[in-house]
Each structure stands twice: as structure tokens, then as C-alpha cells.
Symmetry: none
Amino acid sequence: MKAVDKHARIISAATKVFAKKGFFVARISDIAKEAKVADGTIYLYFNNKYDILISVFEEEIGKLVLQAQKALEKETSPQKMLEIFAARHLAAMKKNKNLAEVIQIELRQTNKIIKDYRNKAFLEYIDIVAEIIRSGQRDQVFRDDINPELAKRIFFGALDEISRVWNISLESHYTVDEITNQVLLIFLSGLRNEATQ
Amino acid sequence: MKAVDKHARIISAATKVFAKKGFFVARISDIAKEAKVADGTIYLYFNNKYDILISVFEEEIGKLVLQAQKALEKETSPQKMLEIFAARHLAAMKKNKNLAEVIQIELRQTNKIIKDYRNKAFLEYIDIVAEIIRSGQRDQVFRDDINPELAKRIFFGALDEISRVWNISLESHYTVDEITNQVLLIFLSGLRNEATQ
Amino acid sequence: MKAVDKHARIISAATKVFAKKGFFVARISDIAKEAKVADGTIYLYFNNKYDILISVFEEEIGKLVLQAQKALEKETSPQKMLEIFAARHLAAMKKNKNLAEVIQIELRQTNKIIKDYRNKAFLEYIDIVAEIIRSGQRDQVFRDDINPELAKRIFFGALDEISRVWNISLESHYTVDEITNQVLLIFLSGLRNEATQ
Amino acid sequence: MKAVDKHARIISAATKVFAKKGFFVARISDIAKEAKVADGTIYLYFNNKYDILISVFEEEIGKLVLQAQKALEKETSPQKMLEIFAARHLAAMKKNKNLAEVIQIELRQTNKIIKDYRNKAFLEYIDIVAEIIRSGQRDQVFRDDINPELAKRIFFGALDEISRVWNISLESHYTVDEITNQVLLIFLSGLRNEATQ
DNA sequence: CATGAATGAGGATTCATTCAT
DNA sequence: CATGAATGAATCCTCATTCAT
């Protein structure tokens, strides 16, 4: 087994365990067992428990960024791009609930643990939304009075809360398409530049 | 000092400490010190650490529900009501960042800790949004094809992500009014029933 | 309510609680509740938890001593006296299992807790047995080669183990009479001076 | 150092510490220090403090059973067997006062702590006495009217009380032989079948 | 005398991390 | 590189005892 293999297996195991138990309740030995390595082996690849959390988060978000960029590269319509982003994000969260949970935890906890930790990957991810909105504004299909920096948060927050509820509650019977549709119903008309349409 | 006093002081101290450190990193002795009581005194009012978390959450959300209900009782316009809800929520979170953080933590962690814990107070709170949307649909000022159950999540998620960012990042220089305005720009036109207007 | 009343009620409650839970598992608040007094009230009558234990023991053993002395005062036959002692002890233990347990615990624990604590009352109690044996030796009905100091322990130990088993196990279906009879079968012939009979 | 070694060292340390302080006053850190391991190491071998107590008891009683069985296997005379049992038991208790105390504590406390705990090893041990008595009855050297189940308790109780006194009091100057002799003086003539002798 | 809320010292247990093998 | 036994610091919670009322 190659080292890269073990690193990947630990990341994958940690994603699963963090998602299931939450970062603090998760034990290093849980991750080790899930990854089928010895407890000590984990410390050959990561400095400590927090380091695993950050690595998990950055790797997984990094993948999302790449996937989103690839999916969007041939698309020029801002409305369509927003739709693609939302659909892909929700589909990814529905498919990999572990990841959704890890994002939830990570986003709310890491800053308390590691002072001044900056989620570069995450910022890059939601900046995709800001960029779509800006391009829509340049094309005059989105209203000028929308602040893309705030709108990206509002948009991501909406998607994120939906993902959260999926993982715990009754409302989980909605399909990705239904939800994507609902989100877009609101946001596309909400963002639309009525002056020019 | 009356008992009610001490209970309230512990809740308040816990809100502060949980917000600053996060639930798991927070120590009972931190809360005791903040509340200026002995460690053991906390256990006269709460069963255990989780019980404090739940109590903090429910009490604080309960207050939000009451405030929101009161602020909305004389208002009949659904658009106006949504505006009031958003403005009040964001103002409360900006004012009491501790509370915003406790909501963040609670919503993402308690279900992992205490199986089947149901946030009645929280559901009541966001159902206010669903009810506003439904009344807007009855009045035909909001689109019929919006699902209020999903929309309440989308709306709350947007507000919540905004609140989260306030507590950690650079973007905290926006005012409550600016953000409320942005959220409403999107949502009010997003929800608007164009067929009748 | 008179003070003597409360003292007695605490002793009685403590006997019950110690017997049920054991000294260390018993809580002062358990005793207070059982005695229907406030926790703090107990400290008006006793110095500390150990003091309660010792008081319970000495009072209860004191009663046994008085009862035994009274029952034996008109009896002159050493065999008969031994029989009376055994029958009364077993009957008392069967009737008041709490007391039996308190004796068990006390005898094995107090010396560890309070260095050099001497059970005067207890020694007085088992010395009744030694004295019966000595009188039997003077009357030449008991063998001379028996050491009364050891025999009192052997005799009491036999009775005590029987009492212990009563409180926990299956063998509790024997009656006091059956057991008294068995004990005397062994001890009376065991102690008998065959040279003169 | 092998694992078996550490397990044995902890058992031995616990026996010593429990005997000296009693189960409840004994601290896990006392046992750890005595065994020269870290506190946490104890929990690699035992589930909790009670588990240590039970393990100590069962292991030590198990040894007594084996020793007794071995010492008795070539003996056929019931009187002689009773003598051997008593002599060995008293010698073991005199030699290992810690063990004597652990038996005392265990027998009186564990049932309160762990509901329905059954001392299989202990029952096996005292059943040796019952079996000796039964064989003596078959050989018609012991009286028929003795109930072996009660007699085993009476006999063990006598031995046990003697052991108890050894560990705390003045009477500890008697030798094993003296005491064995006294116990047998009483019990052998007490059990003897006079009809046939 | 009586109360019971408050105290805070103390201890069993957990678990991230290390390191000898 | 890999292991997992061992470590021991760290913390939640209990409960005997106090003392203001």
C-alpha cells in the first residue's frame, strides 16, 4: 500500500467519523479503526486532531471547487451558472452527507479552535458565486444594487441550511431538483434586473 | 440573591462562554467563574453540561419568538412582515453575537449529542417565516409555486450565514440595515407574485 | 418535636440507609430524607458522617447487650445461656436486617476510616459469650482446653456469617429455630466436657 | 514487560491497597502508584474500579480453591480434611492479610454495588466444606442431623471472624496452629457421630 | 434549633499523543 | 513506515459540610 493511499484513507475515514459524531465526540481511535490503520499511524500523516479536521475540509472543498469550475467553464449565462452551482452543490451534499456535516462543523468550530484560521478553499468556493453575480451585473441581467459579497453569503447560507436539514429531519424527502428549483425561483427573480427585461 | 437570579446568571454566563469557546472547549468552571458561582452550584440548576446548552438555546430562542410575535402582531403586509422578521433577527444577532454563535453550535451539534432532541422553540421560530409566506400566498402577493416549508429554511439559512460571518470575518463592517436591505432585495422580488402585480 | 426524638429518628434513618446502600454509597441527604429533616440538621446532632456510623453501631449494639443481659440474668446453665444468646442474636438479625448489615459493614470498615477506633459496645457484646464459656468451664460442663477468647470469636463468626447470608441469598429460607439448632448441635457438643459427662 | 505481568501487578497492588484502605477509600491512583503504572494503564486491563475489586476477589479465591483441592486430593478422612481446610485457610489469611481483608470487604459490599453479582469462586470454595461434611456423613463419622449447607457457613464464618480479628486487634498474637486447634476442638467433636464411635 | 442553598475539594475516567519494538 | 501499549493531563460531576436566614 502506498503512502498516498493511507493518507487518502485517513481523510476519508475522518470525513465519515467527523460527520457521524462531530469533531469533538469523534475519537482518533474511531478514525484509525475506520481507516484500518493503527492509532499511531495517523500521526505519521497528520500533526494532530485539528490538523485532520482542516485537511479533511480543505481537501473536500478543494474537490468541490474543481468540480464547480469544470462544470461552469463552458457556460456563459449567469442565470444558468447559478443554477448549475446550486444544483451541483445540493447534489454533492445529498450524495455525501458526511461532507455536508463536516462543512457545517468546520465552518462553525475551527475558528474557535485555531485562532485566525482562514478557509482559503472555502472562500474560493463561495467566491464562485460572487463572480457569477458580478458577471451577471456586467451583462445587465442581474440588478446593480445587489452587493455580490453579501449575496454570495445569502446564497450559500440558503443552500447550507437546506443541507443541514437534510441530514437530520423530516423534510429530507424533497429531491435535489425540487429544492434547486425552489432556490432558483427565489434567487433568479430576486436577482433579476427588471429595468432591462 | 434569589434563585431565579442565579439561574439567569448561569444562562447568561453560559451563553457568553459557549459563544467564545464553543460548547466542547468551554469548561464548566469557565461558566461558573463567569457567573460568579461555585462549580457545584451549576448542578443545582442544570443536570449536566448538555442541559445547560439546551437551556441556553431554548431560553434565548424563546425570547426571539416572543419578540418577533410582538413586533409582527400589528402588521398585515406580508412583505413588511418579512422585512420586520429579517431586520429584527439580524439586529438581535448583531447585538448579541454570543447568541448567534450558540444558535450556530446548537443547531449543528445537539442532534449528535442527544439523540432525537427536537428544538421545539427553534421550529416555532422559523415557522413564523413559513406562516408569513403562506399569508402572502393567500393574499396573492407571493407566488404560489413557492413551498413555504422550504422557503423558511432558505430564508433562515441566508440570515444565519450572514450572522456567522459577522462573528468571524472581515465582512463584519456592514450594518444591519445594509444587510437587511440586501436580503429583502433578493427575497421580496424573489417571492413576488408577478402575475398579479 | 423534642431533640431526643430527632436524634433517634436520624439514628433509625441512618441504620436503614446504611444497611440498604452501605456506608460509602449512602448519602447524608438520603439519611436526612429518610429522617424527614434537613441535611444541615444532621450536623446539629452528629459531627460528621463517620460519627453517625459509630453512633448507629454503638446504640444498636448497646441495645443488644442490654437485651442479652436481661434474657440471661435468670439463667444459670451455660449450655442454656449459649442457646439463649444464639437464638436471640439470630432472631434480632432476622427481624432487623438493617442492623445485621450495619454490624457487618461497621465491623469491617470503621477501623480503616478512624484509626484505632475501639468498639467497646461490641466487645462487651461478644464478651458475654466468653463469660458464658468461662462459667461453663468453672462448672466443668465445658472443656478446659477451649480458649474463651478465641471461642467467642468462633461462635460470633458463625452467627455472623449466617446473618450475612440471610440478607443476600437463597439460603434465607431457613428459620431462626432451624439455624439456632444447627449452631448449637455443633457448638454444644463441641464445647462439652466429655471427661465429666 | 509482558501484558500478563502488568495485569498481575495491578491485581496484586489492588489487593494490597484495598486491604489497607478499604475499597471506597482506596484511590485508583493509589493502586497505580503501587503497581508502578500510570492511572490510565489500569483501564487497559479493567473496566472500572468495581471490576478491579471483583477480579481481585475471584483470582485470589480461585487460587485458594486450587490450593485446597490439591491439598485435599490424597486425603480420605473427613476429620483430617476439615483440619487441612481450616489450617490452610487460616495460614493463607495470616500470611496474606490483604487477601483476608479483601474477602471481608468483597463479601459484604459487592452485592450492594453490583446487583446480582454472584461469587461463583467463593461458593465453590465453601462448598468444599459442605462436601467434606457430606462425605463424613456417608462414612458415618459425622452426625446425620447436621445440615451441610448451614454447617459450611457456620464453619467459614468462624474462620472468617478469626481472620478479621487478626487484622485489627490485640488478639493477633495467637498462632495459626493454636487457632486451628481451637476451631477443630469445637467443630470435630461438634460434628462427630457419637452413635457409632 | 432548623433549614437547604451554596460551596469547592476531590476522584474516576477518558483519550490525544508518544515511543519502544 | 507501522504498530498499539502506555502515558498522564485534564475535566465533569458528586456530595460532605457550612452558614446566612
